[in-house]
């Protein structure tokens, strides 16, 4: 898919931002804090502007096509076979009510995991083929990414409502919470090293505290999203995977329990907050 006009626009806007930063940054600590806030505000303005021509919409459209088309070895559509928790083919509000427990799979599943499960079980695609290239590159956007963007768009402006009253979901939340605190690896990092306290940063990047509602929603908002650095569409599954990379861990398996439980913890902590739909990430 070609999205070079957006890319050019982004590069332009980013270099303006960069110049602004260089001009206004001064030596005193207070001024630095103010400048940091300014950069964040500028970025936010720019992001808001982009929202009119939200690049995520391109992926949404592609996802809609994929959702409705008869595909795979079994030649069925997801629209006529896939239950995201609201009934077969129903997508309104499905995204904000996942992860949830699915009895047919006997697993707690986030949206992407469930969609991939449907592609395998209902349409007959091979999981290993899907998992070979799970995330977008410069030249390729996986079907699951387009599909999850389409589904997420149908939860726009709805409140997050992960069904934590379901004991299976609650257990996933508890396990996810422990996983977020689990320190190991050469640098002794856990998720909480970087995301366990309010108001921390790595360099200039704000790190949301995933234990709080205000922090957790920051980790949910804008995903799946168009990532300005790189100009590609990425999902929550990607975000979790890349943070494990930063944590110096080995790689989590695509659509595994590990990722589903972490997402249950994080999205569950954002319950009650309004999800604004697929977006744009820095």
């Amino acid at each position: 898919m070609d999205h070079s006009p957006q890319k050019r626009m982004l590069v332009g806007a980013l270099s303006t931002l960069g110049a602004l930063g260089a001009l206004t940054f001064s030596a005193s600590a207070l001024a630095q804090e103010i400048d940091h806030a300014k950069a964040a505000i500028e970025f936010e303005k720019f992001r808001a502007e982009m929202e009119d021509s939200n690049p995520s919409e391109l992926f949404e459209l592609k996802g809609e096509e994929l959702w409705k088309a008869k595909r795979g070895p079994k030649n069925v559509s997801l629209a006529e076979s896939c239950d995201l928790g609201q009934g077969i083919g129903k997508i309104e509000g499905a995204y904000v009510q996942m992860p949830r427990y699915f009895a047919d799979a006997d697993a707690v599943m986030d949206a992407e995991r469930r969609i991939v499960w449907c592609m395998v079980e209902k349409q007959g695609f091979k999981f290993d083929d899907i998992a070979k290239k799970p995330f977008a590159t410069d030249t390729f956007t996986p079907d699951a990414t387009n599909l999850v963007t389409y589904v997420a768009a149908h939860s726009k402006n709805m409140k997050i409502a992960v069904p934590l009253k379901d004991p299976k979901v609650k257990e996933a939340w508890e396990i996810g919470k422990e996983m977020a605190a689990y320190r190991a690896g050469p640098y002794d990092f856990s998720c909480n090293t970087c995301h366990g306290t309010d108001g921390k940063r790595i360099r200039m990047q704000d790190l949301p505290n995933l234990a709080t509602a205000a922090g957790a929603i920051k980790g949910v908002q804008g995903w799946p999203g168009y990532r300005m650095t790189g100009g590609i569409q990425l999902t929550h599954q990607w975000r979790m995977t890349d943070c494990f990379r930063q944590q110096r861990f080995p790689a989590p398996k695509y659509t595994s329990d590990a990722i589903a439980y972490l997402l249950t913890y994080m999205i569950g902590n954002a319950n009650g907050q309004v999800y604004k739909g697929p977006g744009i990430k820095r």
Partner: protein
């Protein structure tokens, strides 16, 4: 030796009255089981990275707040394997220290194994006033030498802290750069100079 201490420490932990710690134990065991089954090796990041060492085991089980007696024993253990420079000099070249502090490279599955690893210091600390892009997971180290002096004791502390932060604070969020051989003694000396040398911009 280390194993025995850890075992003793673990036994002491289970005897603790802290009920919340015990209530979480079940979920923790499940979390560890999930972590064991759901990862694959990638690049230089092998599955052995998922295992807890003694420090992880204690910190993970106490919410990073171990009982003082256990912390003291294990900190001593960590201190025992700090390698001090052969020539006894603890301060190197602050300019080299600055570029090490800047680099965040190293140890991820996308890094080439064997390439020199960075210090990551600016990811977590304010250091040189000229560098405005710094993280805040650790305290500001601006004017560190000006504030703390440049005595042999403080040099020894800073060298040891960078070599193994857990020798001073068992569940510190700061990596153990020397212990895991991310940084060599020579490099750590350069970082000591960055923080303590009166000529370093940190102390201007």
């Amino acid at each position: 030796m280390t194993k025995k201490i850890i075992l003793a420490a673990m036994a002491a932990l289970t005897a603790l009255p802290a009920t919340s710690v015990l209530a979480d134990a079940d979920y923790r065991a499940k979390a560890i089981a999930v972590i064991k089954k759901d990862f694959v090796p990638r690049g230089q990041a092998d599955l052995d990275r998922l295992a807890e060492d003694g420090v992880h085991a204690i910190c993970n089980r106490t919410g990073n707040n171990p009982p003082a007696e256990i912390a003291k024993v294990l900190e001593g253990d960590q201190m025992a394997d700090v390698k001090w420079p052969a020539d006894g000099k603890l301060m190197g070249n602050w300019k080299k220290g600055e570029s090490l502090a800047q680099s965040g490279r190293g140890f991820t599955w996308s890094d080439k194994p064997g390439l020199p690893v960075g210090g990551n210091c600016y990811n977590c600390h304010q250091i040189n006033p000229k560098e405005t892009s710094y993280g805040t997971i650790g305290p500001s180290l601006l004017h560190f030498g000006k504030l703390r002096g440049n005595t042999p004791e403080i040099q020894k502390y800073v060298y040891g802290k960078i070599f193994n932060a857990k020798a001073y604070n068992l569940c510190s969020e700061m990596p153990r750069f020397g212990r895991v051989e991310a940084l060599k003694p020579e490099q750590i000396k350069d970082l000591v100079a960055l923080l303590l040398d009166p000529e370093s911009p940190v102390n201007k």
